[in-house]
């Protein structure tokens, strides 16, 4: 990570403890409804990502897991992250090799991300990549799209205002 104490939020402010609790409750509800097992490690990883509200590398998560009394070897974190990502509770940011909690729980998922080059803040939005030029190219080539990664790198509003902070 290029910044140790970057702005913790998508880009806009919001009440945090409330949104963490709410998101965790929603995740629990969905897991119960779908027969998924939100085990202690998985729940903890999701909670950590929700609390930090920024992209965390697997090894950063691992440190936090250790602090919380869980196992601290790579597979512990990766397995939890695989589960959470598979079911859309978190997303992987390929550009950063890092993970963020999903900001749009429940919605149809074709996420796109805006990543600040200076502070690593990440904001999630929706995209429809298969609708445009990419979708046309895929159809023309006979390629069947299953999933898309859309990540925009640039400068977030906060960093744009303090160019030399």
């Amino acid at each position: 990570m290029s910044a140790g104490n970057a702005p913790p939020v998508g880009f806009e402010k919001h009440d945090h403890s409330a949104c963490v609790a709410q998101a965790l409750a929603a995740a629990e509800a969905r897991c119960a409804a779908e027969g998924l097992r939100l085990t202690p490690v998985r729940r903890k990883v999701l909670e950590l990502l929700l609390q930090k509200h920024r992209a965390l590398g697997a090894y950063a998560i691992l440190d936090l897991l250790r602090d919380a009394g869980f196992g601290s070897q790579p597979p512990v974190a990766y397995r939890a992250l695989d589960f959470l990502a598979e079911h859309g509770f978190v997303h992987k940011i390929e550009r950063l090799n890092a993970f963020v909690a999903c900001s749009h729980p429940g919605e149809t998922h074709s996420p796109a991300f805006m990543i600040c080059r200076l502070c690593d803040a990440v904001a999630e939005t929706q995209s429809t990549p298969a609708k445009g030029a990419l979708g046309a190219a895929a159809r023309a080539a006979g390629f069947h799209i299953e999933k898309t990664v859309v990540e925009a790198e640039g400068i977030c509003p906060a960093c744009a205002e303090k160019p030399k902070a």
Copy 2:
């Protein structure tokens, strides 16, 4: 890499030795025109990526460099790749942590990729991600996009035809 001898091509067939030579010549011309230094290592890396015509990891490139008599330590490959990527001769596939030679030399570059989940074949096309929902979201959020990564994962035509190969 999940396949050792996957189809070597974007998806469609074409004459290969010709396109390699042509691309190399074009790269040399452009470097000469812009005062860039296409040194032996850099040229070799580009040539290798053009020949293989598929995504190669840095360490695979490194092995090939060693075979060709160049240095074989990681920085050798990464420095060459950084140079080539910076000037648009190759692209990094974030999803694979690998690199491919550019298929559209010279054109305005906002590439998008289709990556086969089964054979790792990669095809390049153009995208205009900032035109659609993503661009709108960025403007609304005050985010300034500098570069975008668009990578679609799915099944290529060849693999679709032989489901159980």
